[in-house]
């Protein structure tokens, strides 16, 4: 142990790194990864010795053309913009690019030589952080060639560690997820693999841990004795945005529920971890996923509603239906909306339904978690006309306008004893005077530091796929049949309302 390191780790500045982005010229790199890295540089959270190597099929006349394209991405999408010229010139100086096919063994030899050159330029051998921002079908091939070229090592190297960040979708069912895990583990140890879900990088999602386990007043209420129901909504106002082909294959159950919504569900419902280290938190998430009551295939429609958007109006614009989107089959029955009623079979949540819904083309973009508490056992106020019955709802807004609000009843000023609903609000922007960092900033920094709490472990991804695969198989057993539709701009189909109405519940309007 280096005694001079004591007390320094909390500073959160990683060791020397070279980040190799497969898919380095793609949309994700331009919109998210490079802007996040630039912002980290601007906030001086990158190591003094740092380089980026973009790897993709695109050909550029020279590396300056690549750098300029990435600068445009940063100018448009970085949280801290406009880009500072002086800072950019230093940042871009160690940005490199290599055009290659992902199945070309010679290209990986060239890549190895370039990385060794970069090490020399930087003056010291650096950690290597690979980022797979390519279609998932390429992951096994890239892993194979990285191994073949000895660009990765499973050995523990304190000075030149290799790590890999893997983008979603991580498989398309349980079997494919298991196969991908097996492939990755040929090249990396589990502790070197960082399966990314950018929802976990969102400040409000992380705040769920702080909110629940850092305060004494909420956790005693966080159980079936006090909570009546939980709703998690992830709504988007956009449609498939030119990704019709991808969406036809995936559907929103795979695209959103298996990863983002289940992660939010885990943090909302899991038991307190013994510590915040990565395995303690992830152990609890896996336990929660394994507690989900299995779906009975023949009765899947009672707890899962799927639907597809038809033409309608969103945010003042007329928008086409899903089947009219480019790349979508005219008779497609692919779901763009899914709502689930989940039951968690453990002592904490025994009788509490968790309603999850996510969809395209909803009235607005919003992600939130709302916990509705049980009513007071005896109604003192307005018992005759129910004007005293104000539901207590705690809402955690993940996006936009991150914050937390508590809805409760308060006496209306005046001579009568009447209650009206009021809100107690906490907003990140105003309480802390600054906007929270972008999810990718936090997650990339964590991966560089080797902190994996906010990444998904192999058994976690397999446990969530195990549940989702049951639903997929139940749908498959139903054969191709028409599914409900909802007009764009609505909160979903009637069938989803009916699913809740049976229990006397209703979807909230976020």
């Amino acid at each position: 142990m280096n005694p001079l390191r004591q007390g320094l780790l909390k500073e959160r500045i990683p060791d020397a790194q070279v980040m190799i982005i497969f898919g380095g010229s793609g949309d994700l790199a331009k919109r998210k990864l490079l802007p996040a890295l630039y912002t980290l540089a601007r906030e001086r959270l990158l190591p003094a010795t740092f380089a980026i190597m973009g790897v993709a099929r695109n050909e550029y006349e020279n590396e300056d053309v690549y750098r300029n394209e990435m600068r445009q991405g940063c100018d448009t999408f970085a949280r801290r913009r406009p880009v500072d010229d002086a800072l950019w010139s230093g940042f871009a100086r160690t940005m490199y690019y290599q055009s290659q096919e992902f199945d070309d063994p010679a290209a990986y030899k060239r890549l190895k030589a370039r990385l060794e050159e970069i090490d020399k330029e930087l003056g010291i051998p650096a950690h290597r952080l690979y980022y797979f921002a390519t279609p998932p079908s390429t992951f096994p091939m890239i892993v194979e060639h990285l191994m073949g070229s000895k660009l990765v090592s499973r050995a523990y190297e304190p000075w030149t560690r290799t790590r890999v960040i893997v983008e979603k979708p991580f498989g398309r069912d349980l079997e494919s997820a298991q196969a991908l895990n097996r492939k990755l583990k040929q090249a990396f140890r589990e502790s070197q693999i960082y399966r990314i879900d950018h929802y976990l990088g969102k400040e409000t999602v992380q705040n769920m841990l702080a909110f629940r386990f850092g305060n004494g007043i909420f956790e005693p209420l966080w159980n079936q004795r006090h909570v009546e129901q939980v709703q998690i909504t992830a709504a988007e106002s956009v449609g498939v945005e030119g990704r019709g082909g991808y969406f036809e294959e995936a559907g929103i159950l795979r695209d959103m529920v298996q990863n983002h919504l289940f992660q939010i569900l885990c943090l909302t419902a899991m038991e307190p971890p013994v510590s915040l280290d990565s395995d303690s938190v992830r152990d609890e998430k896996v336990k929660l996923l394994r507690s989900l009551r299995p779906i009975v295939p023949e009765r899947v429609d009672e707890s899962v509603v799927r639907a597809q958007y038809a033409a309608g109006h969103v945010l003042g614009r007329h928008v086409p239906g899903y089947r009219q989107e480019p790349g979508v089959a005219p008779g497609s029955v692919r779901e763009t909306y899914v709502a689930l009623r989940l039951m968690i079979d453990n002592w904490r949540w025994g009788s509490v339904p968790f309603y999850l819904r996510t969809a395209k083309r909803m009235p607005k973009k919003v992600t939130d978690i709302s916990i509705r508490f049980r009513d007071a056992p005896h109604l003192l106020f307005g018992a005759g006309d129910h004007r005293g019955q104000v539901p207590n709802v705690l809402t955690v807004r993940v996006q936009p306008d991150e914050g937390i609000s508590l809805h409760f009843g308060s006496k209306i000023p005046g001579p009568a004893m009447e209650l009206a609903p009021v809100n107690m609000e906490f907003r990140y922007g105003t309480s802390f005077g600054k906007e929270p960092p972008e999810a990718y900033e936090r997650l990339i920094l964590d991966a560089m530091l080797g902190e994996s709490t906010l990444f998904i472990r192999d058994d976690e991804t397999e446990a969530s796929w195990q549940f989702i695969t049951q639903v997929l198989q139940a749908w498959e057993a139903q054969g191709k049949r028409e599914i409900p539709v909802y007009p764009a701009g609505a909160w979903g189909p009637e069938e989803a309302d009916a699913m809740l109405a049976g229990a006397g519940h209703a979807w909230r309007q976020p």
Binding site: L4, A48, R427
Partner: protein, 380 residues
């Protein structure tokens, strides 16, 4: 939309500073600010995480710049919304009227709320005490004016007072104290700081120490490769060179290196220039030297100029080559030039208001540093 800045003076009277009047003045100023900012953001959000009590020096001693503290706070507040209470002791001759011992001025600085509409307003109270009699009012006024149930941080970023009990009284009410050892250049100042650290049961941050962090990272990095950390147990010599005003940084760096490596016994030795000590542990001993150099013209810099560690027959060095770069040299880093990003003081204060964890490494470093300064070598 522009930010609005408004001021109001709470006049002296029977109760010279009335907290209710201060709060009423803030409400009035915020209403004015909203009108001035155009009405699109029609509500004021009061964002407040800390009570920040800042001592503002008068221009009495070298390095004491009242404006520096004021400017610093202006940069800190957008990142850490707080009620700021600034304390300044002025000569009795500057009192607005005879018999006035203390006066408050309130100021609000409003900005559009980030992303959510509304106007976020800061609350700043300037307390001017006239003469020693005025200063006596400060502790009780701070207690009255602080926002309830929020922590209080005391920012004392200049030399420690030679007399009076103001610092001690304010510390007693504080949850955190932020100092800047760079300015504690008076004889015995660092020793007094150590006493404060030991006595205070509150979290503590020293901007002078925090400025060393980037260099500490790089120095630690020299000993990260396999087999290198062990060399620190076979130290053969340490030499530090600083700018003339960077002596405190130099001695803190030495304190850090020696305390981390378990060396706490030393005695002064004669040196042709600067300071020299012999450090001992068991049968091992080695020299430690510290010198200052003023002829490094060419870049604007204050602090550590170079560090050389001789250990286990190897040499490890760090040299400041220009304002933003250092050169590292070690068995694993041959003439390696790296960027050494310094931090703005406002960024350091924001960081100091972050985690409240006690920094045991600092406590150890300061104890050894003050030990070195207590030897006769320091004042030669």
């Amino acid at each position: 939309m522009s930010a609005a800045e408004l001021r109001q003076t709470i006049l002296a009277g029977e109760a010279p500073v009335d907290p209710a009047a201060v709060d009423a003045a803030f409400s009035g100023l915020w209403r004015q600010a909203v009108e001035r900012m155009g009405g699109a953001n029609s509500h004021v959000v009061r964002a407040c995480l800390w009570n920040l009590v800042a001592h503002v020096p008068v221009q009495a001693a070298p390095g004491e710049e009242p404006e520096r503290v004021v400017r610093l706070l202006e940069q800190v507040i957008p990142a850490v919304p707080s009620r700021v209470i600034r304390l300044q002791t002025l000569p009795p001759s500057q009192a607005p009227a005879a018999g006035v011992e203390v006066q408050a001025r309130v100021r609000t600085h409003c900005l559009p709320g980030p992303g959510v509409g509304g106007t976020v307003c800061a609350e700043e109270v300037d307390l001017s005490g006239y003469g020693a009699a005025g200063e006596f009012h400060f502790p009780a006024l701070v207690r009255a004016l602080r926002v309830p149930d929020l922590p209080m941080a005391l920012l004392w970023l200049n030399a420690l007072p030679r007399e009076g009990t103001l610092l001690e009284q304010l510390i007693a009410d504080s949850d955190r104290i932020v100092v800047d050892s760079h300015f504690l250049t008076g004889e015995g100042d660092l020793m007094r700081l150590l006493e404060v650290v030991r006595k205070a049961r509150l979290s503590f941050a020293d901007l002078g120490w925090m400025r060393l962090t980037p260099a500490r990272y790089l120095i630690a990095k020299l000993f990260d490769p396999p087999g290198q950390a062990e060399k620190l147990q076979a130290l053969e010599g340490i030499r530090v060179e600083t700018t003339p005003d960077g002596r405190n940084e130099g001695v803190l760096l030495l304190g850090w290196l020696l305390s981390r490596c378990g060396y706490r016994e030393f005695k002064a030795e004669a040196a042709p220039a600067g300071h020299r000590w012999r450090v001992r542990r068991g049968n091992r001993s080695f020299p430690v030297e510290m010198t200052t150099r003023g002829d490094f013209a060419g870049f604007d810099y204050d602090g550590i100029l170079s560090l050389a560690i001789q250990a286990g027959n190897e040499r490890y060095t760090l040299d400041q080559v220009d304002q933003e770069h250092v050169a590292l040299d070690s068995p694993h880093h041959r003439h390696h030039k790296v960027a050494l990003h310094g931090w703005e003081d406002s960024e350091l204060v924001v960081a100091a208001l972050g985690s409240g964890e006690a920094d045991a490494v600092y406590g150890d470093a300061l104890a050894v540093a003050t030990g070195l300064m207590e030897t006769e070598a320091w004042n030669r």
